[in-house]
């Protein structure tokens, strides 16, 4: 997430969310790679998936807490960015589904998520540009 003048509480919650996000990235990549490339006993495969899901749940809870406790301007910027991301994800997913019927290559499930992440970042940037300016000392 972009950091433009967080309160100490928002900075702490932001770091907690970032840590969970990193854990999600690591466990997701490891689980994807290991499950695709190796033949593991079934319980280990299930444990890897469960670990990735636990990290995803932790990230969702951490972000919810970050939003709930956020400084009100930060919350407004984040909610608008999430709106942009959700809208872009919906337009891309539904729009591309029509394109697939017209012969475009099949999409991976992850592609819609990637679009949402890109537009979430773009939405935050636009929000900070819209509402903030250099602060005085």
């Amino acid at each position: 997430m972009m950091n433009c003048g967080y309160t100490p509480r928002d900075a702490r919650n932001g770091w907690i969310f970032s840590a969970w996000s990193l854990a999600v990235a690591v466990t997701y990549v490891v689980a994807t790679y290991v499950l695709a490339k190796t033949t593991l006993p079934r319980p280990i495969g299930i444990a890897l998936i469960a670990l990735a899901l636990v990290c995803l749940g932790g990230a969702v809870l951490a972000f919810t807490r970050f939003l709930r406790e956020a400084d009100e301007l930060l919350r407004k910027i984040q909610l608008e960015a999430l709106g942009v991301a959700f809208g872009a994800g919906a337009v891309f997913t539904l729009g591309y589904r029509l394109c697939e019927r017209a012969g475009a290559p099949k999409l991976d499930v992850d592609d819609g998520f990637l679009i949402m992440m890109i537009f979430w970042t773009l939405g935050q940037y636009l929000g900070y540009r819209r509402y903030t300016s250099p602060v005085e000392a």
Partner: protein
């Protein structure tokens, strides 16, 4: 919505950081309110009024009327 936040803060010789700390918000929020890019929530407006020991309508003016 127009407001007198910058003027009131300057009268007390507070920095944006000082005011932000008293209000429990970020400096960016104080800055955005002062530059009228953002209107505060009602609870924050009450907190601002309490900090300056004024009524809300002595600080905030709808449609720029004072």
């Amino acid at each position: 919505m127009k407001n007198r936040l910058r003027e009131l803060r300057a009268d007390r010789e507070w920095s944006q950081g000082d005011l932000a700390e008293q209000l429990g918000v970020s400096r960016q929020t104080v800055n955005a309110i002062e530059t009228e890019k953002y209107d505060p929530s009602l609870p924050l407006a009450f907190t601002i009024a309490r900090v300056f020991k004024l009524r809300i309508d002595e600080i905030f003016h709808p449609n720029g009327k004072r």
